[in-house]
């Protein structure tokens, strides 16, 4: 089977190379059949990548350890769902996933535009197949997922237990979908620039793909933040880590692009800006893919000195040089007649939005790559930490939220003061009311939070007001009752009202971030059973210790040491939390001993979390296993002494008894444990805001049913006409 997989990859590479040639030949000679053949190469790429991916997945699901990466990333004790996800936890598997998704989205894009943009599409095809060829070549020559070992081990290393979390399973597919979807507008932009057909047509053809890319990338980022908060033992959701930032960069420029294309569609302006923005976004997407596996930056995620550095840097350099060349050499075609007439206009607001987003991207980029920059400038590698990032991103975020409130309401071209007064009266009032309420609640301690929440309230009020006015306008036009009018309003203007829902979601998310950063109560403390501590308004008591052994497929999956905590406020019971720590066995019996190895593999924290609409109570525990060490050593020695005298079955019974004894000893007589407590307000608003953003994104993405039906009917009618003409 491995050979079939490897064969598929070689075929995929060959198909991509052929497709590039066919598309370019078809473009040069004007012969559409060759372009069509090139398009079918993309379909073939998708099928071949899917086949290879299926082979890999089956190997993981069936725990076929003769596959080298199955042995190093999965085990029989890994639950089936996580075994499937383990496929992309490896370098090779993740590259194959990238190729598969590239094939999927490229095929979809080219299928939907198969009858359009005849001059642009061949070059877009060539670019997409170029990416395909690059990744296929990596898979064939540098990172083969189908390497087999002559002797298959009986048990695999297992999936890093930190990744055993549902959000982490789909985090990579979401991110990679985002990256590969950005390749589509990138490719079409390149094509449009090459043939100098730079009006809004290529944008409208690929607009949905840009929006979908933004959507998936956003989902991936939020899932990562959620995983960090709920699964890792530090209680935070964002650390400005280089790899987190790498995925944020294309998302920021992608958001700018989504907004600025509206100006090009409406007024034909900003062509150079849009082209540059989408090209930059594509470059940043590939950069993000590269950064995770490069090892060039110190990060919690960046791994391995990898051999893939040189090819990726070459590709990125090629993309940068090519993009610059295209934009500069086509700048006459990109010139526009229109200009921004007035600073008090929607064009200016959108421009401001773009400036802020690109500014944010610049700050994040600078801070992320600073170690390399400082090394180039001063010879010494230096890093900036989260405080530096916060210092610059927070003010920019404040301006962004302000613009989110101004943009939807202000008039096009030239707003008058009277018109502005009427438009902003209610939302400004909502902001003022919020401000007063916040001051009354004592939020004034943090000025930044005060301003942020006020501006968010303003932005939400604007979105709601727009919804109201739109419904009223729809009623005036169609006479429908209000609820129906609202539905048909949103249905007929999905992009606009989906967008407003996204604004609301972003505002809610920022409120959550502001509140949970500024007003968090944190406490690191050591507790013995029976002791209590105070965290903010809560009293937390360590009630008792727990322990257990989880068995799967006849083998020990993990050993758990946990705690039971009671949380009360003013004497009233609030919740019971049970944070614990799981210890996964290591395969290195020789290094750690037959008993010791169960405590020397990976360890994960199971966070105790009570989430609520107003406040989250979060806790993690670090049990002290040092007191068990002498018993573990005794068990190791006992097993080694009796090794020759016992049958394997007797040995495993003895081992089970030893482990069982250790585990119950811990629960009966636990040493004091190290706890971290966090009481943070409004953390749930972050996830709720994220959900609203995605709901809004889905609404904006959803294709309008009418247009599709109409297109189909017109297509048939044209075919009838054609065939009649031919007969």
């Amino acid at each position: 089977m491995a050979q079939v997989g490897a064969g598929c990859l070689i075929l995929a590479l060959a198909t991509c190379v052929y497709g590039i040639g066919a598309s370019l030949y078809g473009a040069a000679t004007g012969r559409g059949q060759w372009v069509a053949s090139g398009r079918r190469s993309v379909y073939a790429l998708f099928l071949l990548a899917a086949a290879a991916f299926a082979v890999l997945e089956v190997a993981f699901l069936r725990s076929q350890f003769e596959f080298a990466i199955v042995a190093s990333h999965s085990s029989t004790t890994t639950p089936p769902l996580y075994r499937a996800a383990a496929a992309w936890s490896s370098q090779e598997g993740s590259l194959l996933l990238w190729l598969f998704l590239l094939g999927l989205w490229s095929s979809l894009a080219l299928f939907l535009t198969r009858r359009r943009l005849r001059d642009v599409v061949p070059y877009a095809q060539a670019v997409l197949l170029g990416f395909g060829a690059f990744f296929a070549a990596l898979l064939v020559f540098a990172a083969n997922p189908f390497e087999t070992a002559a002797l298959a081990p009986s048990e695999g290393v297992g999936l890093n237990p930190l990744l055993r979390y549902p959000a982490m399973m789909i985090h990579p597919p979401m991110l990679y979908s985002g990256y590969t979807l950005f390749a589509v507008p990138f490719a079409f932009a390149v094509g449009a620039l090459v043939v100098r057909r730079v009006d809004a047509e290529w944008i409208t053809a690929t607009r949905r793909f840009g929006l979908a890319a933004w959507f998936f990338l956003g989902v991936g980022i939020i899932l990562g933040a959620r995983w960090s908060y709920a699964e890792l033992g530090w209680g935070g959701y964002w650390a400005w880590d280089p790899v987190e930032n790498a995925s944020l960069l294309p998302w920021l420029t992608g958001t700018a692009f989504i907004h600025s294309v509206m100006i090009q569609e409406k007024r034909g302006m900003l062509k150079v800006w849009n082209a540059s923005l989408v090209l930059t976004t594509g470059i940043l997407a590939v950069l993000g893919t590269f950064l995770v596996r490069s090892g060039i930056l110190d990060s919690i995620h960046a791994f391995g000195a990898s051999t893939l550095g040189v090819p990726f840097v070459t590709l990125i350099a090629l993309m940068i040089v090519g993009s610059l060349y295209l934009v500069v050499s086509r700048r006459d075609a990109l010139r526009t007649e229109h200009r921004v007439d007035s600073l008090l206009s929607r064009e200016a607001a959108f421009l401001g939005n773009n400036v802020v987003l690109v500014g944010l991207a610049f700050v994040v980029f600078w801070g992320t790559f600073f170690p390399l920059i400082s090394e180039a400038v001063t010879g010494q590698k230096a890093a900036v930490g989260p405080p530096w990032f916060d210092r610059y991103t927070v003010p920019l975020a404040l301006v962004l939220v302000l613009l989110t409130g101004i943009g939807p309401v202000i008039a096009w071209r030239r707003a008058t003061w009277a018109n502005a007064r009427r438009a902003f009266a209610l939302p400004a009032a909502a902001g003022v009311v919020t401000l007063i309420a916040l001051l009354a609640l004592g939020v004034g301690a943090s000025v930044t939070s005060l301003i942020m929440v006020t501006l968010c309230a303003f932005a939400i009020a604007v979105a709601l007001q727009e919804l109201w006015r739109g419904t009223a306008a729809r009623r005036a036009m169609s006479g429908e009752p209000a609820p129906l009018a609202l539905v048909s309003l949103v249905r007929r203007n999905r992009r606009r009202y989906g967008g407003y829902l996204v604004h609301v979601g972003v505002a809610v998310l920022f409120i959550g971030v502001a509140a949970s950063s500024a007003f968090q109560h944190a406490q690191d403390t050591r507790l013995q059973v029976g002791q209590s501590t105070r965290v903010g308004p809560y009293d937390v008591r360590y009630v008792r210790a727990t322990s257990g052994i989880d068995v799967r497929a006849g083998d020990v999956e993990r050993i758990r040491f946990g705690t039971v905590l009671e949380v009360t406020m003013d004497g009233r019971h609030v919740t019971t939390l049970g944070p614990d720590r799981s210890y996964y066995p290591s395969q290195a019996i020789l290094a750690f001993g037959p008993v010791g190895r169960y405590f020397e593999g990976e360890a994960t924290s199971d966070v105790g979390l009570k989430a609520g609409p107003l406040r989250d109570i979060w806790t993690a525990v670090q049990p002290d296993t040092s007191r068990l060490q002498p018993l573990i050593d005794k068990g190791d020695r006992l097993l080694e002494r009796t090794a020759s005298r016992l049958t394997p079955r007797q040995r495993s019974i003895l081992l089970a008894q030893i482990l069982g004894g250790l585990v119950s000893r811990y629960a009966q007589d636990p040493p004091p444990a190290q706890f971290r407590f966090l009481a943070s307000p409004l953390v749930s608003w972050i996830w709720a805001g994220g959900l609203l953003v995605f709901a809004g994104g889905l609404i904006a993405l959803w294709p309008a049913a009418d247009a599709a039906r109409r297109r189909a009917r017109a297509g048939y009618a044209a075919r009838v006409a054609r065939e009649l003409g031919r007969a």
Partner: protein
């Protein structure tokens, strides 16, 4: 398994070649028809986009984001552009089935207004 694998790969190669060479085996008439199709599809898309612009402009006016004077100007201009597109679509279609073809388009055009 060792013998089967290369056979499977060769079969896949054959499938890919079949898939990819299909357009090359078609005739010249097919190519011309496709070109016609493409121009029509581009015009349809342009028409859809234009209708959307007209509707959005009206919504902007009714929700107070566009002054009446500006709206009338923009609306007139956009409708003129839409008429041009419709004319070009008609020119592309064959004369005989014109009533059948304009039917659904005109109706949807009015619905979109």
């Amino acid at each position: 398994m060792d013998v089967l694998a290369p056979l499977v790969v060769i079969a896949l190669l054959g499938l890919v070649v079949l898939l990819v060479s299909a357009p090359l085996r078609g005739g010249r008439a097919e190519a011309e028809a496709q070109r016609q199709d493409a121009r029509l599809a581009d015009l349809q898309a342009a028409k859809d986009a234009k209708y959307r612009e007209i509707r959005e402009a009206e919504l902007d006016y009714r929700t107070g984001h566009l002054s009446e004077a500006d709206w009338r100007l923009i609306d007139r201009q956009l409708r003129a552009e839409a008429v041009t597109i419709l004319r070009r679509i008609d020119e592309l279609a064959e004369p005989d089935p014109r009533p059948a073809e304009r039917g659904p388009q005109a109706a949807s055009g009015r619905r979109g207004g």
